[in-house]
Subunit: 605 residues, 2 copies
């Protein structure tokens, strides 16, 4: 099953929705032009299609293998990772100071999507390395950056995030790994970490673990957690590798999906290495501020996992579209001379369009968020940077929470389009359904995203950012109404989109106001509605971006510059409004059921 990077749609979103022109005009990107952006997209497409995508099934069928503490990755992964490193893909978005290319997030988000579509398991390793680079870039000391960043950016080394312990999953306050200060300023770590993605493998020379642990006098809870760099091999002054550190992979997990990605149990301090007992670690920043630094990494990873949701949806969509265009079964509804391909049947069209509409909606939302991140990072005006930062922070849980939950629906529909064949593993559709299931769990479950959304992104600023977005949605509604009023073939379609976006935005606003008004006296009711609110936000944001896309397509039609792509895009936007956006009211109703639902639920458990 081949995968084609959706370059045309990515370009459309860049230009029409995510303000590529504006981002290219930022001083930080003055050396970049649209041709270069296209060249990167094209080369990325070639690389992921030819090198990475063919390994997707391999990873599923021949998972990484643990033997005696070492992990051998799936066949072909090592070679592909070498190509990835040599192509400079790991450094794409990172600071040229450390060897990166400093390209906009907008672009790296797109290349991250295609890499993940090609092979979710493979792409996880660079995804986590990105997080480590980001955290060290911001919180590492000059020596630490110099020692670790260049090799990470080159893809010679990879990175991991070590948070979870058996008793400390969503609740990091329970972290028990100890870090004992040594006279030379280093620390020795003792403890066990679980669910560590690519915690051990043979794709790179070294692995840089970022580990949360407690120093002896640390306060209890999350305020007593520090962050440490623990390299698998110590790094000499000259950058060469030294002693094998005391961190060991005890086992890897047997998982529902992403078989190609080794999920490891790591033991720190079992005394087996070259350094005596205790893994040598280097404190990042100050003691007890570990969670704050880790959040830098987590925010990067959360956004990136949201993009994984887009990625696996796109892959499932492409396979379903291809199957439905080939599989012959049944007569056309209007009658036909013989059996037709199943993509002529209304319900198969409904499934394919639902998949496409959701996928394109979450892609547009994610890429627009990346554009906002670029402005937060590099806008000339300080206020615009601050405004963009607030908007991006608001968007991250939406991108993470909604894209990943939506990917379960999309991959499930992908199985359904295949009928009985979808349930047969050889077909491949089932893999996406299995792989996608981790996405709403890792890097903070959907509930964690929703708590963050309600607590930090809605309540903290009194809903300012969220309600501001609702106003922008209303402006889009107005624009669509004006376009529809001018008549034309698509007037009814534009009216439908406008009407449904209007209702959905109103439903979202009502839910936001319910949360703002009730948080104080009905905290349990508000938090019982937090996931529905987040799903509502995602549903409406995706619908809004598709509505904007419809506007853009209509403009092209008016200007005579429309292509078949624009026609298809408009149809996808119509379908989202018709079949998906209308879920908004029900989600809003769930939020507004509030305390009554919560009281009874609490009694019923």
């Amino acid at each position: 099953m081949t995968y084609q990077a959706p370059v045309e749609d990515i370009r459309f979103v860049f230009k029409e929705l995510a303000d590529l022109d504006g981002i290219l005009s930022l001083p930080a990107h003055s050396g970049l032009d649209e041709e270069t952006v296209d060249a990167v997209l094209n080369e990325n497409a070639r690389f992921v299609q030819e090198v990475v995508a063919p390994l997707n099934r391999t990873g599923d069928l021949q998972p990484a293998k643990w033997e005696d503490g070492e992990v051998r990755v799936s066949p072909g992964f090592r070679e592909a990772f070498l190509e990835f490193a040599q192509g400079g893909w790991q450094g794409l978005q990172h600071d040229p100071e450390w060897g990166g290319q400093g390209l906009p997030r907008l672009l790296s988000a797109a290349t991250s999507e295609t890499l993940n579509s090609a092979n979710l398991s493979f792409a996880l390793c660079p995804l986590l390395t990105d997080g480590v680079i980001e955290a060290l870039s911001i919180a590492g000391s000059p020596e630490q950056r110099e020692r670790f960043l260049p090799a990470l950016l080159e893809g010679r080394w990879t990175g991991t995030m070590n948070l979870t312990e058996p008793q400390a999953g969503s609740d990091l306050a329970q972290i028990a790994t100890r870090a004992l200060p040594q006279e030379d300023g280093t620390y020795r770590l003792h403890g066990q970490k679980i669910f560590i993605t690519y915690g051990e493998h043979d794709m790179a020379e070294n692995i840089v673990h970022l580990v949360l642990a407690r120093t002896p006098d640390a306060p209890k809870g999350v305020k007593g957690i520090s962050l440490f760099i623990v390299p698998k091999f110590l790094v000499n002054e000259d950058g060469s590798l030294g002693a094998r550190n005391d961190v060991w992979c005890a086992s890897i997990e047997h998982k529902l999906g992403i078989h190609g990605s080794p999920t490891t149990v790591l033991f720190y301090g079992s005394g087996k290495g070259d350094v005596g007992e205790g893994a040598v670690g280097y404190l990042v920043g100050e003691e007890n501020r570990g969670l704050e630094y880790m959040f830098i990494m987590m925010n990067a990873a959360r956004y990136a996992v949201g993009v994984q949701g887009v990625a696996v949806s796109e892959r499932a969509l492409q396979q379903a579209v291809a199957y439905a265009a080939e599989r012959v079964q049944g007569q056309a509804l209007e009658g036909s001379a013989g059996p037709v391909t199943i993509d002529r049947h209304p319900d198969v069209q409904r499934m394919l369009l639902t998949m496409r509409a959701i996928t394109e909606g979450i892609r547009a939302t994610a890429l627009c968020a990346a554009g906002v991140a670029d402005r937060a990072h590099a806008a000339a005006d300080e206020h615009e940077r601050a405004r963009s930062k607030a908007l991006y922070d608001y968007l991250v849980p939406i991108v993470k929470g909604f894209s990943t939950e939506a990917s379960i629906e999309v991959t499930s529909l992908g199985v359904q389009v295949h009928g009985g064949m979808g349930f047969i593993e050889e077909t491949g559709a089932a893999q996406y359904y299995r792989d996608a299931r981790i996405l709403p769990i890792y890097e903070g479950t959907t509930a964690i995203q929703a708590n963050d959304f309600v607590g930090r992104k809605i309540l903290r600023d009194g809903g300012t950012v969220a309600l501001g977005v609702v106003e922008q949605m209303r402006a889009t509604v107005k624009g669509l109404e004006d376009a529809a009023a001018a008549g034309g073939d698509d007037a009814a379609a534009l009216t439908l989109i406008a009407t449904r976006l209007q209702s959905a935005a109103a439903a979202y606003e009502a839910a936001l106001r319910h949360v703002l008004e009730n948080a104080r006296q009905d905290i349990r009711g508000v938090y019982m509605g937090s996931v529905p609110l987040l799903m509502l936000a995602g549903t409406v944001h995706a619908g809004w971006q598709l509505a904007r896309a419809a506007q853009a397509c209509h403009r092209h039609q008016q200007a005579g510059t429309a292509t078949p792509f624009h026609q298809r895009k408009l149809a996808t936007a119509v379908f989202y409004a018709a079949h998906v956006l209308c879920r908004a009211q029900g989600l809003s109703d769930a939020v507004q059921a509030g305390g009554l639902a919560a009281d009874y639920a609490n009694r019923a458990i």
Copy 2:
């Protein structure tokens, strides 16, 4: 992980919602009393809990194995099936004339649910045998019944349905298996069937295949299909087994789930048996009426697969509830001295209650439908039988389509409740997520159910049955309003249920009227809304039954006969109204988007 048959809820549904008293007063069940019903439920619970449930993981980890045309089932399945047979469970609902116990469908639906909860893969074999028994009871000749039914009812033999061929899945018109008439009145079958559940195994002495095939002069399409009995071993006059017939298992599938159930490819007529070339088959009924007879079996199987949706949901729910009650993580929202079990967190409660509310809603709908089937079968009054038959026919696609789609949501939530542990196969939650995925596909995909629903159950009678049910829903709303008006602790809760059921029933009615009014001029638009309509019907029916349950609980509270069960049940009903029933409007909006969505979708493919 243990499974407990939900006997208390089943009894509640029997008594309060499905009119057990009325069914026990039918002449056909005059020998039956409530104590016997309870005894059957209890003995069934013991059997499935002790014997069948422990084999669920075994089946997943050690699937059936194909070797040289023979299939060895998972360890323990054989012995468990022997106990099943000896316990008389296969004959529970069937005619005493053939050795059955003639118990009401209401009861056998409940015991089928628990058997499937215990082990979906194991239960599939009896499920299909039930269908064969049903088809032969109605369409078989007296000789055929005498020869095949007793051994099937005893569980000495099992049965299969042979419809699908590589080119003929949902479209049975494409069936190509040939049946050549012989001089002795038998036929010889040649062809290939795929996806045949338990098409070969070693749990029983013989396998009775019901096979769709074409005779030489048969008309094209579905009007030229005949139904044949093809036993694995021919059966002698005295009932002993004779020659090995020419039907062979070529392979079994590697599937996403239900690993314990062998899904076989069967070759008819490869000339390897004791009978020469061509499998010996016996025509059931008349030539070219095969599809009609198979529909008897399919309707039984469709209902039963709907019950599988209830079953796997219940199993996933029980595991999630148990995990959430043990797993300690995080502080209580209102503050707590230390970490609490996760079932204290609002979002975990939301997930558990969503799982429970959907599970209990689809159970109530399915069991009420079984009660309707009993009246269709055995009511004294001819008109009541006809009315009940029409109502049952209307309910079958709802039970099949909605319960199975809902089970995907419930089992997915089951994984989510477990967090990262849910993605680890050892936990077991992932198995339900994998197993459930086949349910909306086999025995007619959700689209096929939806086509049946719109075409045969809504349009054919001009919506009479469906709109009649809407009126009954309104009566329930009125009852709840009256109860709420009388005041009391639960008045607000009853009002919420009434309000939401009122809106949902209105949304359902609006969608029905849209379909009735537009089917002629906008067939594509109507069929593009067929699955949303079916999901809407299921959502509203489940909500209606839970609303009736809330009424019953309230009555018990007023009467002083309420138990903790009733309190929990009321809370579940409240939660369904608050968080699930409110999806109705969005589904109705999707249906009503109709032709506009369909036009654009058709262009976009």
